[in-house]
Symmetry: C2
Subunit: 568 residues, 2 copies
């Protein structure tokens, strides 16, 4: 402690390096800093110590106290009242809120009865001896305490003020910690290699959701990929063995509301592994990185087949925090005389389903399970809005959904097949023969990870043989395989069996912290309509500046849905 | 060991989860995998064990051995010769090189005299008992051992094959490890927060090197930023206190050769810190993350002022691995009668400089120090090409260059001033008054980090007061401050003193591993001219696909320098 003080004094006198030579003594959030402690850490153990705090003026009270804030919390600073300290008193009393200062003083126990048990530093206060004003806050668009009442547009415009809230500070720090632990688990525990893959890539054929980036060569464009899928598979062909990346991905969802044009995924790929291996890896990773304050995670997670999920919940990402499963009563009513029930059963795929809701029983006649799945969630919301507690807000129900169909009928032409996920997913070994005869019956080695009814990740074991990949692309999906010739060629040059997963980091963190939108776990999100309201992006660019890219602006006729974008 | 085997057997029989329940037993690079060991780890300690290896067939020898490879190294597999193993023998002998297989067998000591001391696994071999062929390598563009002789274009086209080399595997793994240690140092030791900032941003005025990204709103464009500079300063205003990010950055250098349009920087920003604090942080980070095999790093690093660097080395990023400083002999010759020397001295800023090269002394007459700095490096190259050892290839000389001028005369108009680095750099406190009177004399709180003569990073303490920032933008740089109004507003709403640095990760890693190009430390680099030769990016996009972005292709007249791009 004495040594730490000596070092601090040396540093205060601009003596460089002592705190490096003895770096094990000055670590943590106040290392190398003007402060000796953060505003959230002082306790009665510190009484009598001379400390230096740096922070923002949260508010003044009775010309007697300045409440100082930093990311870690609040400390009460006592303004000295004796005549000899008049200058200091005047300076402290004159501080505008949100000004940034450095206060040096002595930690005192608060007088008996004045402790604040709701404040972690509520047992102590600092008797100020010195003040340095780093910056006066001259301009706030509105009072900080009014902040939460302001429109989201205004809060986005002054994002740097919104981020000062303790909730946003917690969200960003929890996200950083969670990712750090994931990295430790992958790198240090399981030997994964963090590899960065390009974001300036080639446009995927039909990749309508990919932003284009004009190059300086006329007519040639890069695109911003939706995921590093091709690169991570090529890394396996390259023998990298275990790859991960916290990868920035891009998706141009056009006029779809609540979109983030860029988002982050925890991207993982592994060679010489099966589906169970990837699932165990992800369970271990989440268990290892799970924030301690959220309670321990139990593994393994529940596993459910796609068919079970659809049958019992009417959805492929069921919220298993509450029951209210769909119950098929078709058998019970198989010989019913009741006309409308008989008519329902006589339809193709017609059935009679029930949801057992507390208090009543919903009977419905349905051939569309997703409709019922939706109804189940709406029932839950309705019941909760009437005070019935169905879903524990502190519970985290992870669930694997497996055995998805590999192909689904195309929406616009049900005679043809589309990939249920993507064309690189391997079929289940026992279904491989069906690829030639009845491809619609083939199940894929695909797994979705669901948390409290949100899909937070998905992955698969990939096809690693060129012949099989070619068959899927050419004969089943009727796509032009030449567009993926580099991948097919790679598979033929010694590709190991491999598989992986991608977790949506923004969504995962937002569920963990209980945020209503992923915007609350992103430092600088885009608005509802894809705008940065602080810096005004996207913005105009002159025709002159576009010349090197050989493009020019051309206003095509607007559909109403596009026009609406201007209203923001 | 026994337990590990039991677990492995259970796993081999598809019993899920035992290796998670006992996860502390099955960690490391072979966890959750089809293999029990990697191809690089077996030693004579393992003799007698039954093991399973997965890997690529490196080569076959005398129908007796298969050499198996993975990322970690090579293992010799002995092909059984007895009649009962004829099928296995035939299968092993028939393997095409670069095919991917799983071999199960028993570790044996090699017969005396057959050990290979150059091979880490050279004491042992595996007597094969079982073979599974995962994938046959059907197609290689050329023999792998010919690879290094092929043109770089071909090696880029088949990047996934180039990455199989042990050198590239080492480079990627060293990079991943280095970054992981940096993260541990920043997050776990010093309380930094990893915050992701947007890459779809607003175009910087005059940001000629920024890629534009058309949005679906006519005439509005995002841009891909060259660095998160504005965001990291806003995070400090937001009270995040300590930010870092391994940040993807973009720079469109047009026709400049050997460019990477996207690159990575270790981006750091800190509040309540001074220049010495940031420098100590970076020294500690590099020391902490430095690869053990490169020997320990000594801190503090050498510090040199900009003036000293220019005077002694004629360059602001001197290679201090060798001496040969410039020596100013102007004084000595001040009263010389020799005409050409007198003439040199009579010029404005004229001087007589010498470089003391081993064996001889170069005298030159110069008013351009950078020319001499270049000459010094060329001398060194020349001497080394003649066998003189000047620069130890295993030495790492870090150097801080400080006290740069804050402004430099504009190239096209020396009467006006430009920022030497960027307009956010704070002046040295003692020079602040000169900002009003003689701004060209002001030194900035800027620091460059130089390694073996390469600039690998730069940073500064930033201006945190709006009034000073406005003065610099408006009165000194004559820029329109309204373009940065959000930053100025932020500085006026309680900005703490702050500073930071950005290190060029690609360059740093390439110096550490001794690579001649940063392409050797990037998994999928662009070619010399910014192309992805494997996937053919950038690529054409149809006018139809451009319609949603309200742009169309327009071929402007080409300058010769742009034309040359087509030749690739």
């Amino acid at each position: 402690m004495l040594l730490q003080r000596v070092l601090f004094a040396l540093k205060a006198h601009n003596v460089r390096y002592p705190w490096v030579v003895c770096s094990d003594l000055l670590l943590g959030p106040s290392s190398l800093s003007f402060r000796s402690h953060t505003c959230g850490e002082l306790r009665s153990d510190h009484v009598g110590q001379k400390v230096t705090l740096c922070g923002w003026v949260q508010y003044l009270r009775q010309d007697l106290f300045v409440i100082l804030r930093d990311f870690s919390g609040l400390t009460q600073v006592l303004i000295p009242q004796e005549e000899s300290a008049n200058n200091l008193k005047a300076a402290l009393c004159g501080l505008a809120v949100e000004s940034v200062v450095k206060v040096t003083g002595t930690v005192r126990k608060r007088p008996a009865g004045q402790e604040n048990k709701l404040m972690p530093t509520g047992e102590i206060e600092i008797l100020a001896q010195n003040l340095e004003v780093f910056n006066i806050c001259r301009k706030l668009p509105f009072e900080m305490k009014e902040f939460v009442k302001k429109s989201e547009a205004l809060r986005m415009q002054y994002r740097y003020l919104a981020l000062r809230s303790s909730q946003m500070q917690k969200n960003l720090r929890l996200r950083s910690q969670l990712v750090m632990k994931m990295r430790e688990y992958l790198c240090n525990v399981h030997g994964f290699v963090d590899v960065e893959t390009p974001t300036l890539f080639k446009r995927t054929p039909g990749g309508a959701k990919e932003f284009v980036v004009p190059s300086r060569e006329p007519g040639l464009f890069y695109s911003l990929p939706q995921s590093p899928q091709q690169f991570k598979q090529l890394l396996m062909v390259a023998g990298v063995d275990r790859y991960f990346q916290i990868a920035r991905c891009y998706r141009d969802e056009g006029s779809k509301p609540d979109r983030q044009p860029e988002f982050t995924q925890v991207d993982i790929e592994m060679s010489f592994v099966d589906q169970a291996g990837i699932m165990a890896l992800v369970e271990g990773m989440l268990q290892f990185s799970w924030p301690a304050e959220k309670g321990p995670l139990q593994v393994p997670f529940q596993v459910m087949t796609y068919n079970e999920a659809m049958r019992d919940y009417g959805v492929d990402k069921p919220d298993t925090r509450f029951n209210m499963k769909l119950i098929d009563l078709s058998e019970v009513f198989s010989s019913t005389k009741i006309e409308f029930l008989r008519s329902a059963l006589s339809q193709s795929e017609g059935s009679i389903q029930a949801i057992c809701v507390p208090i009543c029983l919903l009977l419905s006649l349905c051939c569309q399970l997703p409709l019922l799945g939706n109804l189940r969630l709406q029932c839950a919301q309705l019941l909760e809005s009437h005070g019935l507690s169905l879903r524990d807000p502190s519970a985290f129900h992870f669930l694997w959904v497996v055995d998805f169909p590999l192909f689904l009928p195309k929406e616009d032409n049900p005679e043809e097949l589309d990939s249920a996920h993507h064309p690189f997913t391997a079929p289940r070994t026992e279904d491989t023969d069906l690829l030639l005869s009845e491809p619609h019956k083939v199940r894929g080695q695909h797994y979705d990870l669901v948390l409290n009814g949100c899909e937070i990740g998905g992955g698969s074991i990939r096809i690693h043989k060129a012949s099989l990949q070619l068959h899927v692309l050419k004969n089943i999906l009727k796509e032009d395989p030449s567009l993926l010739s580099h991948l097919l060629e790679a598979l033929d040059s010694g590709a190991p069996p491999h598989g992986g997963i991608a977790l949506g980091l923004d969504r995962l963190v937002s569920v963990v912290v209980g945020a209503s939108s992923i915007r609350d776990v992103i430092a600088f999100p885009k608005s509802f309509r894809g705008h940065d309201l602080m810096s005004h992006a996207p913005d105009t660019v002159s025709e002159e500046e576009l010349k090197p890219y050989h493009i020019s602006i051309k206003c095509f006729e607007q559909s109403t849905s596009t026009r609406i974008l201007f209203l923001e």
